[in-house]
Amino acid sequence: MFLLYEYDIFWAFLIISSAIPILAFLISGVLTLIRKDPEKLSSYESGIEPMGDAWLQFRIRYYMFALVFVVFYVEMVFLYPWAMSFDVLGVLVFIEAFIFVLILIVGSVYAWRKGALEWS
């Protein structure tokens, strides 16, 4: 129950863009000689023996960035249908969307001043 014919180009693009990396890996896998020895399989650590675990401790600042990202991402998803119907809506709706963005700018300024966006 869907209108497939509108999406011909999309499906063609999707199939081709999925096929290209698969093809690239297959061809290089067939053409090269893969030999596994223990030295090759160990991870690189500037020439010395690898010590400790590869996973670092997770710091809170990574989470702060993800949080701010998610809130503004959801805001963007709400702005998308407004943008799609912008030409048939009037000036009043433009003001409404402006208020929407303004309230979220207040949030962004709060995040900035409270140091949620500090990287160092």
Binding site: L3, E75, P81, A83, M84, F86, L89, I103, A116
Partner: protein
């Protein structure tokens, strides 16, 4: 404009099997980060199911919100778990194959008989118009909810 039958069936089987595999992966994988990625697969399959209902904006919105926002937040929450505390052994549970086949049969034989007409304005434009006129006040309240969520989460995470 009726549905091309084989394409509907193919998408159904493909997404359904992806969904089931992803669900099994979420539950049975030992590393919680692998489970989170498997959850991402489940959410992608769910969102692609909406193609079969001719609602393309919902596909995009589900992908953006669920995979892009919710799954990312879940992933970051899972990152706080220490690596040494994972569940080590892999229990392969027995799955009721008859139950599975029954579900697949139900979904397979359920399809509507309607003839689809194409609207003059697309789905996302209709949603935009309704959001800006009928639901203008909820639209503004959404911004306040997002603001409250942002401030609350930053206040909690700073401690």
């Amino acid at each position: 404009m009726d549905l091309p039958g084989p394409i509907h069936d193919f998408l159904l089987v493909f997404l359904g099997s992806g969904l089931i595999l992803g669900g099994l992966g979420v539950v049975l994988l030992t590393n919680p980060i692998y489970s989170t990625f498997s959850l991402g697969l489940v959410l992608v399959c769910i969102s692609l199911f909406y193609i079969l209902s001719n609602s393309h904006f919902v596909v995009a919105a589900q992908l953006l919100i669920y995979v892009g926002a919710i799954n990312v937040v879940i992933l970051f929450a899972v990152m706080f778990i220490n690596g040494s505390e994972y569940y080590k052994d892999f229990n392969l549970l027995t799955i009721g194959m008859a139950l599975l086949r029954w579900f697949v049969q139900i979904i397979w034989t359920t399809r509507s008989n309607q003839i689809i007409e194409q609207d003059l304005i697309s789905n996302s434009q209709q949603i935009g118009i309704h959001l800006a006129t009928d639901f203008f006040l909820p639209f503004e309240f959404i911004s306040i909810i997002l603001l409250v969520a942002l401030i609350g989460a930053i206040a909690v995470a700073r401690q």
